[in-house]
Structure formats: C-alpha cells, structure tokens
Assembly symmetry: C2
Homo-oligomer: 239 residues x 2
C-alpha cells in the first residue's frame, strides 16, 4: 500500500456567510437553530450554476469544512460539553473541533441557489458554522443511506432537551424593533441560539456574569436570571 499517498491538499471551494462571528454561541450541532440562516459563497472557480444542477430535488446538504479557529495541536482526549465539560472521551468518539485534520461535518437545510448577487451562493439554514469557515465539499444528503433511525448515539443519544426560556429586557426589546432584517427574524435567531445555553459548562443560577455573543454584526449581551436567559442589550459591533 506504500504507493498510496498519505496526504491530501484541500483548497476551499466556498466560504460560509454565517450569523455566528465567533465560536462562543455557535450551536453544537447543525439544525438546532433553524433560524440560523446564511449562504455558502462559492469561490470564483466553482461559481457555476451547472455544478449544482439536480440539487433542487434535495432538501439537505452535507458540508465538509475546516475548523479554522482551532489551529494548533489536536488532542486525543476531549471533554464534550454534552457531558458537562468534566468527563473525558476519546476525540474520535466526539465531534469536537480539537481533532486531527480539523475537519467539520454538518448537514444543513438547502434553501435554494441564489444567483441574485455577484457570483453563485447556496442559501442554507440550521447553521452551526462560524462566519468565514472554509468549505471543502458540498454533497447531497441521501436519506436512504445517510439516515439510520435505529443507530445508537452513545453519550449524545438525543437532542439537548433543556432549552432555557429567553426573555428580553426593555432596552433589548427596543433595539430589536430597529433591526433591518426585522424584529421577528432577529428574535428567532437570538431565542433559538441562547435557549441552548451556550455557556462553556453548566454554571448554575449563581452565575451573574453578563455574557456577550457576536451575532449578525451585533453584540448580544445576556445573563442568566432565575433559570432564564435575559437579553440585556443588543449593540452594534464596531468594525
């Protein structure tokens, strides 16, 4: 087998445009936040509508992407947030970004091919990628092969259930109303994202820190109050 190459050089075929501008707040799997909408902006070489002919019959796509914010050494053992951040697992038993080769895999809802602007982009939702992540492949989701309903899911056998209620302080409520995409869309993204409790590990109700999450060009500031997420304010990010 020695003649088979052991390395492969990938070049990005697209970049993701995502509301998540930093790792903090990104959902831990795709599909948890249906309101997380964005695009795969194809690189010029692949900005060719004919390369997507037939994709309109599929509702979902796989993307293979790079965890570009997790450069550096990988780990052989990691502490998945699903286990509270304090129990180690082998890295290959998790979807942790701190893995050899730094490849991510997400299934996204495909919302259509967008030829309205410059180039070619794919509208997607259910994003769990950080803005700007390089995309190395796009494949159709094949339900007959990819969906295995009776598969055993180990320590992550079901979706995270304990969603927190999200409320808005008056100042945040006022800020919502003035957003260009409309209050409803902005509220949907914020509520779905923060209800997952993005804190690194469970810190309990005694946690009175105000957290900031960069979403869609804004700093969304929130805290935990009586087991709920209270959005305190929404302020534009300076560029």
């Amino acid at each position: 087998m020695s003649e088979i190459p052991e390395s492969l050089q990938l070049e990005a075929i697209a970049r993701v445009i995502s509301p998540y501008q930093e790792k903090f707040g990104v959902p831990r799997q795709p599909g948890l936040v249906p309101g997380a909408r964005g695009w795969l902006q194809m690189m010029p070489e692949f900005a060719r509508p004919e390369a997507f002919d037939g994709l309109q019959g599929f509702s979902h796509i796989w993307v293979i992407f790079g965890f570009h914010l997790c450069a550096g050494q990988h780990r052989l053992r990691v502490r998945p947030p699903r286990l509270g951040g304090n129990r180690e697992q082998g890295v290959f038993a998790t979807r942790s970004p701190f893995r050899p080769n730094k490849l991510g895999l997400s299934v996204l809802r495909f919302e259509g091919l967008d030829l309205s602007g410059d180039g070619v982009r794919l509208a997607v939702s259910g994003l769990d990628l950080v803005d700007g992540s390089p995309i190395f492949d796009i494949k159709p989701y094949l339900p007959y092969s990819d969906c295995i309903p009776d598969a055993l899911g180990g320590f992550a056998g079901s979706a995270p259930e304990n969603r927190l209620r999200v409320v808005f302080a008056p100042e945040a409520e006022r800020a919502l109303e003035s957003l260009p995409e409309g209050a409803a869309a902005a509220r949907e993204l914020i509520v779905q994202t923060l209800s997952l409790d993005p804190r690194p590990a469970y810190r309990g109700d005694a946690d009175d820190r105000v957290y900031g999450t960069r979403l869609q060009g804004r700093d969304v500031r929130w805290r935990i109050r009586s087991g709920q997420v209270e959005v305190v304010e929404i302020v534009p990010l300076s560029a």
Copy 2:
C-alpha cells in the same frame, strides 16, 4: 476574511482494509452490502485505544476519506450511475468521486475496537471503500442530528431496488467451499455485491461478456444470464 487560510493539508490517520481491491464492484453507497467487512487500521500516531474511549456506545461511524484512485481533474458535471449513466448532473448534486478535493463520506457500522493484532484497528461493516483508501477523519454518527427521515433525496430518493438474483456455477460452488473464511461469509459478500449489478451502466440481457471483480484477494468471474448473475469461477489473484 482574507486572513482565513484557504487551503488545508490533511494527513491520513488510518487506512481501510476492505474486500474491494479495485473500483469495479464497489457498492455505490455504504450499507448496501452488510457483508462487506473490514477494518480501519490506525496509523501509529493514532493507534491509541484512549482516542476511542466512548465510541463503544455508538453503532455507526462516519469516515471522511480520499478517493485516491480518482486523481487528476475533477468535473463540474457528472453522469451518476443511478440515472443510467446517460444524464448529466452538477457534481455537487451527486456523491461522485470526480469532485473537487476528492473527499468521500461514508457511514459504516462500527463492530468494535480490535486490539488483538499489532496496533489498533476498528472493525467495520457495510464498506463501500476501496482497499487502502486513506482515512482523514472518524466521527461518531449522531442519530438526533444526522438522521433526517423526511429529507428529500432528489434523483436518489430511495435505495436501489432492482437487486439481481445471484447463482453459482458448479465450479464456483466448489471454490466457495475451500475458502478460509468459510463458504457462508464468502457467499454473502459475493451475493450482496453482485446483486447490485456493478456494470457501469445498464446493458440489458444481451450482454454476454464475462466480468471479473477483485474481491478479498480473488478474481470473481461472472456474467449476466437470463436476468440473473451467474458466478462462473472464483480464482486466486496472483500477488
């Protein structure tokens, strides 16, 4: 976004040991041939049981691998075998190997960690990889996120249904009996593989050519007779 790297150098973390020794005959998706058993032989750096701690709770794994036999130029349009090989689709609407970056994605049944020989290997089944393919990532299959039962599957909405019946000529039947893994296991692999009709495109019953498929170190020779696959002979491959 210009500071984000556009390329990524992958290094194989494992090699697959598969009964399929050439592209011809490889099932077009994983899981179609449950009897296709093999191993992911970890490279020395990752031959560490602790890197798989927790994986025993999962029944299936994803592998991201290289289509190492499809080097050279990719295509933007391909002719999927599922459409009879005569209708073009955009490459990103297919799982064709002739794609940019030459990455494959397969879900395999995880049969356990094998520490019995030298190093560490993962026993798998349902293989659709060519022997020796470089593996770049192994991830657990998360049913709550990866299984989307109501996804629309475009031109490949259901599994291939027209399985052919497979019969064995007397000489092939005798050869089966003398195989070291046992006649039952060898028969299962051959029947499941050839029932999918691996011919490049449908050629009809008038096709009297004898095909050879390299399986598990042997040349399995077969032809189509009255709409059935007849295995003519099974001969060892000279090394």
